[in-house]
Symmetry: C2
Subunit: 207 residues, 2 copies
DNA sequence: CCGCTAACAGTCATCATTGACTGTTAATCC
DNA sequence: GGATTAACAGTCAATGATGACTGTTAGCGG
């Protein structure tokens, strides 16, 4: 039955470990933090209890590993994304990252972190690294915009706004989301794009 | 032993009900959604299991009641707040509402709502009501700003940004928060306050 | 003042989750 | 090629949460 070729221990170990972490992330996306029990993970991964507890001695350890994995994936996604130049494309790309399953899973952990010091520490650490990277990549892509005196302010506000919008998305319609995206773009144009700031774009409001 | 004066049944009932809900909110603030078990609530409220289950037949019912209470309290807080006129005061007041224990508890429920249709429905309903009220009160206070073509856009973005900032607050320093508040104010001034938009205020950025 | 019902009090069975624990297989080292 | 150890497999006891269930008391209506 051992159809698979001989594998080294390190390979086997890494494979199951990755399998478990992937199952954890999937569970976080579908069932949330509370629903992500060690039993659920082991079912999804198709591994035994022994296997799971061999790699991660506790549920907390498993979640921390998931955090690391999530942020690493986010970083890779940023690197892999095609380079954009325009403001609108930048906003769209940024918003897309907030909608990926990775972001959903991470969000779930942010919620749990308030009452879990270990998780909070892990998230804070990874978040700093990600933020610095985003900053660098943004500077790299929008060489002209970065110099604008309003740049830091706009980036700060728009990213937070996206985070907030993502949060309430569970009860929000697509239309309401579209309105927000338009608002972010218009606001960014008004404050960063001097060429556009003169011609007043179409209204963005709406009930 | 019955030192207290005779009370009508309705009074007794309402009193314990309120006691239980308050305990629920407290628990949500301190221990989060996961930590808010029916046992924890009954301990905090100092009521028996029978009392708790008499008023709320399930944990879900209890949480929905907490949602209603939280939003009602938020509404009252808005009404009770002194009327403000300036942009800075408005931003400060708005941000304060995001920091109240009520908001923390509500936040905890927003997280849980993703995997709980009943809770999600309750939150959506109350959220609509609250949003409409905030809109009305804002219009009432800033009669001049409301007419500004950028008004809707700014309100949308700033409120979302606050929501997002509140979310990551668990790992954020006070300094970082102050930077954000400054950014919101400056941005609002730039886009709504035509008098201020000419003189370019001090930079708001910073690593 | 008496029967009735709402408002509790307290216990219990059931179930889910966790991590410890013991047993087994397969890779690696000498 | 035998010993050793990592990588699993599978079971179990302990814990904690939930809601059902039975018993008791106090207000209320007639």
């Amino acid at each position: 039955m051992t159809v698979a070729a001989r594998r080294t221990q390190a390979e086997r170990s890494a494979a199951t470990r990755a399998l478990i972490i992937r199952a954890t992330v999937d569970s976080l996306v579908e069932l949330g933090h509370a629903g992500t029990t060690t039993l659920e993970v082991q079912r999804r991964a198709g591994v035994s209890r022994g296997a799971l507890l061999h790699h991660f001695r506790s549920r907390a350890e498993l979640l921390v590993a998931a955090v690391d994995e999530l942020f690493a994936a986010q970083r890779e996604a940023f690197y892999a994304a095609p380079k954009r130049r325009g403001i609108d494309e930048g906003i769209d790309a940024l918003w897309r990252t907030f909608n990926s399953p990775l972001a959903v899973a991470a969000d779930e952990l942010w919620s749990a972190a308030r009452n879990d010091a270990e998780l909070r520490e892990a998230l804070a650490r990874q978040n700093r690294a990600l933020r610095d990277q985003v900053r660098d990549m943004a500077a790299e892509q929008w060489t002209d915009l970065v110099k604008h005196p309003n740049y830091e302010m706009v980036l700060l506000v728009v990213v937070d706004a996206m985070r907030g919008a993502a949060r309430a998305r569970v009860v929000r319609s697509d239309r309401a989301t579209a309105t927000r995206i338009a608002a972010w773009k218009r606001l960014t144009h008004l404050l960063l794009d001097d060429a556009t700031s003169k011609r007043d774009g179409s209204a963005v409001g709406g009930r």
